[in-house]
Symmetry: C2
Subunit: 301 residues, 2 copies
Amino acid sequence: MSKLISPSFEAMEALILRLQSTICAELAEVDGGAEFVAHPWRRETGGGGLTRVIQQGKVFEKGGVNTSSVYGELPPGLAEQLGTTPGAFAACGLSIVIHPRSPRIPTIHLNIRYFQLENGQSWYAGGMDLTPYYPHPEDFVHFHRVLHQACEAALPGSYQKFKAQCDRYFYLPHRGEMRGVGGVFYDHLDGANPSHFELNRRIGEAFLPAYLPIVLRRKDEPFTDQDREFQLIRRGRYVEFNLLYDRGTAFGLQSGGRVESIFISLPLEVKFPYNWQAPPGSPYAEMTRYYQPRDWLDETG
Amino acid sequence: MSKLISPSFEAMEALILRLQSTICAELAEVDGGAEFVAHPWRRETGGGGLTRVIQQGKVFEKGGVNTSSVYGELPPGLAEQLGTTPGAFAACGLSIVIHPRSPRIPTIHLNIRYFQLENGQSWYAGGMDLTPYYPHPEDFVHFHRVLHQACEAALPGSYQKFKAQCDRYFYLPHRGEMRGVGGVFYDHLDGANPSHFELNRRIGEAFLPAYLPIVLRRKDEPFTDQDREFQLIRRGRYVEFNLLYDRGTAFGLQSGGRVESIFISLPLEVKFPYNWQAPPGSPYAEMTRYYQPRDWLDETG
């Protein structure tokens, strides 16, 4: 047990375990075909996690709802990267990535986490973002409205800032486009401020209301081979982002996390065709235009 | 035109263009179904390239035989990464990645390049490596013998060193395994030494004798759905390596190379299943054991 396990750490751990259990139960019920298997793992140098995975379900092709609590000495390189000095650390978080089978249902990602250092620094971080493959603007409006509500309830005035940070973070500079239609993203929020725990809690609790109505509305919608092809290609961009730029993936690999738990974020099937372009006038051309920053609260959806 | 275009640079450019043309012609003939299309591109800040791509052929699912010659000012960050000071640079190279359709034919990668800096530094670099998906040890022995011959003809005693460097370079630390069965890899070989140009020439000319006999021997071999599945999963590791660790990919993206030309290295179809393990006793378990450093010259193949 680390000396850094504080009441705040324990509150965060309780939150992520409760959310993990509720969210897995609800998603499995919606799927109706597969269950979430549970893989606990230990980290050699301190802590571990509980990976819960659904694969080859009726609705969900591959997804993970993972918690981890790790502690020990900051691995070399990581201290520098976090802008701090070497020493003991403790971190815990919930990380969700769900890749549905149907291209009419978006991929979703959520992360909430808490970080504590020996030198007294501590912070909350997290976010949620949506990666759709079909132009259903009303779904994106719904998603952003739920996030807006969650942010404003915890930290009035915070949605616009966290929304802009999300647009900047989930961005592929080599493609000049976002990974999806954004959401909210925040990092290094002072751990001593209880509103920041409250934000993490509200975002975690917003997962089901933000996502389930979209899943339920779209899961029986028919789709074409072209829709599936576009989804597989966009999943390729998802892989590009996660392996080239995502700090969470890099942190996980560098801090000795469990590889298969980290790569739960990679979709089951992916395509990387050479020089693919969306046919002008197609739904995919419309969808591609939405992979740019946009004020989704203002849309009439 | 850059002031750094020297006789050595021009010799290297002539070599890569000649090899590109010969190799595309031979591979297209073996394929018999698709041709290499040609996409020339210009780099805004100096130079450009000729991308030649085959896709959805009878034998080759996706492949590129690309040349580029770029020059200008070293982009910020890159100078530091190369261990040098900012200033003008010129670089040219040939880069090949071929992903065949059949899991019985290995993926192959070749790169030869030349780099010149304003401060007088210049160097050759390159290598060739094989990523097979089926345990045909005799193919891997053949491949390494051809590389051995090429290295020893240009630089006696060099094969073992470059082979060891390849084993270290094409390594996925998070998986504890190599990308394939290795080959040779060299970097920063003094540009003033003509034997180093000779090495690049010999490696470039070894591409067809190293690869074609394997392709011809395997292209009509029947394969199973399980073989294909294993190939798609191993292609996933190929993607992991190229996006997480490959310096060539990072250099290409940072130096403003053409994205679709750089990502020609990514296979068309890929799978990332959760926690896949090769069934004990299967050909895939045998193949997995070969993704570790091994003396292939000593095998009786």
